[in-house]
Symmetry: C2
């Protein structure tokens, strides 16, 4: 990993999760001196849920996970970093099948209990020999901690990202741990990078899926770095049941509220960590839209602002160019009335009812923009719809990273 993002947070203390064992190995998918294969083995009875990219050209790993998820059971997760294996035709599919065959043979489980994700360059088939050697090394390795897992799955990431939450369910404290990777090709509409959440809670697969879908809608689906939706985006959740609670089957199960809140919390912190590692990011931007015709409309307006190169470069330049926010609101294709619109930066209202506020003083706005965390608020003045999305600024760093990533 290169020097950490200025927005990086320290890796949190993540406890072990009973029923999930982490191992990493160096498959050598790229020419780098680090582990790039993650194997998490899961206790018998572990349930699984997932949300996958909506990109119409998904990787064979995404196809595999989509086919395996209805089974709702998992014994292992394998993640390869440095090669996404996307757009590799029959050879790519063969590589996934070879990984699954190895792991299911080693663990004595069904193939549909093995989940695989890969991330990195598109179009180069994942080398089966490196994958097999890496798997053999991982299976023989000593168990490792979550930080090693977070580091093993990174590509252009500049810092390892993880989160933890706890909930009391059925009289027992359950733990949820998540790790995530991602810093470019990040846009909402499904899981928008690779994220993996592990819990020792007992959760029926259908309910776990419902909880993950809801948490995703307000976390990973509300972040954007560059509006580009990856061909490999995947978020998977695994519940080992080792905590021994009575399995949660629905929203009215004992403790389900606490579990749902804890899962939402982990997902939101992981999603925000991805934005903090946005390629070239120097500012963490929160966009709040209120007064929209509906929540969905508010989200689309917020994303139009968060994806606007002109808004993102203005924030990078610490320029209170609120006119670009007006432009982005107007281009979103959603109901908006220029003459009811108000805009704030931080807590300072800049424009109200379609024009700049009387006696506007740019000083507090400029002060706000000099910070690392910038908040843009828009009130459309039309209805009750609201949404919050998170993004980062667009800097020279993004250009440097992406004009020179593969070569």
């Amino acid at each position: 990993m290169t020097s950490p993002s200025p927005l990086a947070l320290p890796f949190p203390e993540l406890p072990p999760v009973a029923g999930a064992e982490v191992r990493t190995a160096r498959a050598g998918y790229r020419d780098w001196a680090r582990d790039d294969l993650l194997l998490v083995t899961l206790a018998e009875g572990t349930t699984a849920a997932g949300v996958l990219t909506r990109n119409a050209c998904p990787s064979p790993e995404v196809d595999w996970c989509r086919a395996a998820l209805p089974g709702g059971r998992a014994r292992a997760l394998v993640v390869n970093a440095g090669n996404s294996n996307a757009f590799t035709g029959a050879r790519g599919r063969a590589a996934v099948e070879a990984i699954v065959a190895r792991v299911s043979a080693a663990l004595g489980c069904g193939p549909d209990e093995v989940f695989v994700s890969s991330t990195g360059v598109i179009g180069v088939p994942l080398p089966i020999d490196k994958a097999k050697a890496g798997l053999a090394a991982a299976l023989a390795a000593a168990p490792a901690g979550w930080e090693a897992a977070a580091r093993a799955i990174g590509t252009t990431d500049t810092f390892p990202k993880g989160a933890v939450a706890r909930a009391v369910v059925d009289g027992r404290t359950v733990t949820l741990v998540g790790v995530v990777k991602g810093s470019g090709m990040i846009a909402p509409d499904m899981a928008t990078m690779l994220g993996f959440i592990f819990t020792d809670a007992a959760v029926a697969p259908g309910f776990l899926q419902e909880c993950l879908r809801r948490a995703n809608a307000r976390s990973f689906s509300c972040i954007t770095v560059d509006g580009d939706t990856s061909t490999s985006d995947t978020v998977l959740a695994f519940a080992s049941g080792a905590a021994g609670n009575a399995p949660m089957r629905a929203a009215d199960s004992p403790g389900a509220d606490a579990f749902v809140a804890a899962l939402a919390d982990v997902c939101l912190r992981l999603a925000q960590a991805v934005v903090r590692d946005g390629e070239g990011a120097s500012k963490f931007i929160r966009v709040d839209v209120a007064g929209a015709a509906s929540d969905a409309s508010a989200r689309r307006v917020a994303l139009a602002i968060a994806n606007s190169p002109l808004v993102k470069t203005a924030v990078a330049g610490e320029d209170a160019n609120w006119g670009r926010v007006v432009m982005a609101v107007g281009k979103a294709g959603e109901p908006a009335d220029r003459d009811r619109l108000s805009i704030r930066f931080g807590t300072t209202v800049v424009a109200r009812d379609g024009e700049i506020v009387a006696g506007y003083d740019e000083a507090p706005v400029a002060e706000h923009l000099r910070g690392r965390e910038v908040e843009i608020g828009v009130d459309l003045g039309l209805g009750d719809g609201r949404a919050t999305v998170w993004t980062c600024d667009l800097t020279h760093g993004y250009i440097s990273i992406n004009a020179d990533y593969r070569s």
Copy 2:
């Protein structure tokens, strides 16, 4: 204007257009040593047509033109550069009305025969005193040429942009001249900058509008620099009738075919000139999509490619990263089948049927990418839909310009 884009073309020889007289003046909307007000006076009987931004927060100038266009007649065009007057409430509307009142009084015409456009920073009311003084100076100035007009309307433009075409209509040679400004906040879905076309042909307003709508759909609506749709985008066409041809009223009027082709030609060259002046552009990119479910679907896929920051930075870095093209196709939300997709750079097919071609040789692709003009071709293998759009790469120059434009 700063140093010209590396993609700049020389300003063409543009002949006078009978019935249209150009004057420029220095209103001083910004602190710069150049004319920034354009006044074009038009002969009695001139017809008018226009396409205007779809941005939901348009400037009062756009509102004014939208209200005036149904009249179909024009005697003057006023363009202010350096201040878009957008999002300025009642004061902005008053500035437009003051300009119109001055010009209609001077020319003895109706207010709805005066068209006004402004471009520049959003949110600062256009200073009425500067506009009035500028207009007085323009009305007293000697007539100027089209290059002066093109220079007067520019803002972040790095070179003046114009085009000419001729057509034989009803036995007479008619002339079409256009000037355009724009280099950032450029995206399709309507006229996407300020463009003005003048002809001495006689054309009924309804047919002129139809011709402009069609020409716009394949020119200004097929370019993008940054995906940001301006609040001021406007393309207007004026036909003085001084050539003396029998007025064209419909597609089957004598010479209408030739006129339509000439107008399409002028619009396309003006649109491409805007891309060539895209902020920070170092490469001119043509994106061809074929084999789509429909032409509209092809255009949306082409725009997803042309607006992808990852594709644009890859071209800037001369990196044949066709995987990013796959990603952009997949994220477009249009019908696509990964395993039928083929991609080329220039004339070299890189991927076919969902994977890299056997024995792929990157050398000719790398050679193509080193040039100033880059062509990306995608065949979706599904149907007969096709579209072409034009864009530029995304470079450090874009960041520098936009992180520092207003301040």
